[in-house]
């Protein structure tokens, strides 16, 4: 790819991160990391525990402040946005937490309605209910609408967490270890769901994981973080055929 074509290609990126650094005290977590996320692609970010994968997506959504570098989401630099501007930008981003982070004191219906009432103010009560049921059906849990989070299994919580995220029609999805703590069968179901969301809602996604089975199902492109920076970037085949010991150990560990 020529430099000009590459520049044009990068200009399409929905997320463009350049020279990002983040440290907690003396511990450098991210060090001069750069990456792009393009429309409707699933980018899987791999790396060992503690390599800064989760920190990366928390920086993208403004939950943490970067020390250096820029994070442009739809050409808006998250590092320089004011609170109100960041809130508007966040309406286009969905974030599925590792623990699903369902609000314990609310039923599934209330969990779903919570962001919907505040972001999609154009919808009336009936339209909101229809939207909630439609999204719950798409994750296969319409029956759980009046259940409390404590009544749900780990897999169900992840599905509801995903449903709560996609109910406001985000353009970008950030998944923080979506299959961690689930059995292989449920993990595959969640991975398939991530793929369905990408197809149905045309989302661009960053999936943080160290679950290679999940990566195999969902990835359009992969990126490995090592020592706080991008160690390797490419498609699944590039990783599977790599002679690099670190990458091999990662892919052989399954």
């Amino acid at each position: 790819m020529s430099a000009k074509t590459k520049q044009e290609h990068n200009a399409n990126a929905v997320i463009a991160i350049e020279h990002l650094s983040k440290a907690f005290g003396s511990l450098k977590v991210l060090n001069d990391l750069s990456l792009n996320l393009f429309p409707e692609e699933n980018l899987v970010v791999l790396g060992k525990s503690g390599s800064g994968k989760s920190v990366l997506i928390k920086l993208i959504v403004g939950l943490l402040k970067a020390d250096k570098g820029s994070i442009k989401v739809f050409d808006q630099d998250v590092t320089t946005l004011k609170r109100d501007e960041l809130d508007v930008l966040r309406q286009k981003i969905g974030f599925l937490f590792q623990s699903a982070a369902l609000y314990d004191s609310m039923s599934v219906r209330q969990n779903m309605a919570f962001p919907l009432e505040r972001i999609r103010k154009d919808l009336d009560e009936k339209q909101r209910t229809e939207k909630i049921m439609e999204v719950l059906e798409s994750v296969g849990l319409a029956d759980a609408v009046d259940k409390m989070p404590s009544e749900l299994s780990g897999g169900m919580r992840k599905r509801i967490g995903l449903a709560r995220t996609i109910v406001v029609d985000p353009i970008i999805m950030l998944y923080d270890e979506p299959t961690t703590g689930l059995d292989p069968s449920t993990s595959d179901e969640i991975s398939q769901l991530i793929l369905d969301v990408q197809k149905k809602y045309k989302t661009a996604s960053i999936i943080i994981t160290h679950d290679i089975a999940c990566a195999r199902i969902v990835a359009n492109r992969l990126l490995m973080i090592q020592d706080g920076t991008v160690y390797k970037e490419g498609i699944l085949k590039d990783f599977e055929t790599s002679d690099d010991k670190i990458i091999q150990s990662f892919f052989k560990s399954i």
Binding site: L63, D87, V88, I93, F95, A101, Y103, D104, F114
Partner: protein, 271 residues
Amino acid sequence: MQERVNKKLSSIGDKILHWRDSVNDGLLNTGQVVLFLGNIFRESFTRHFEFREFLYQCYKIGYKSLPLISLTGAIMGLVLTIQSRPVMIEFGAVSMLPGMVSVSLIREMGPVITALICAGKVGSGIGAELGSMRVTEQIDAMEVSSVNPIRFLVVTRVWAATLMIPLLVLYADAMGILGSWAGTNIKGDVSFTLFCAQAFGILEFIDFVPALIKTFFFGAVIGLVGCYKGYHAGRGTESVGLAANSAVVVASLLVIVVDMIAVQITDMFTT
């Protein structure tokens, strides 16, 4: 000799570094508290006030505390009456017992004991709830959903506590006077009308208003401390317990401090 001097200097250096770290931590915490209070103040007066959540918190803090406050209020009045009765008889002032109990209850015991009970029940509840929401990333989830957690979680709870604690204190005072009437009738026979006439006849404006005003501050302190401790809880599950525990300890201590300041201020205007 040189070695001893070096050791001494090194020990002094360590102490200075330790002292510097303590000062830094102190300044950081103070800054965090100021920022937190500033955010609450700013978010209290926006047009996006979460009124439904505020009403729900009023219900939780106010209505749900009624059984506990009823019991403690009534026992407070009963015990105060039974304990004071022998002394009042000794001084030949038993007819002043209802008045003395009502002044004690309304001026001091009702507000302070109710506030301390609420620091335990409400303060720890808020601290534990927000602490567990922090640990399980629910506060982060709220933030990424474009909902300001300070506005939704903190402002509603602080205002609900500020407004509900004074109401609970008034209710506890009423229950205390009822308890006192019951206590009077254990060894005597006083009608409720006569008891009320004796209890309220002695009360003046200055007994009632400063005591009521300080309860708003008690409520604010309980709400603020509970929210601050819970909102800034650490990441582990242990932090939830710590948040709840320190919310109770700090809120109780601040209630006593606020009471002391309120008494001094009232005293300035009455003497």
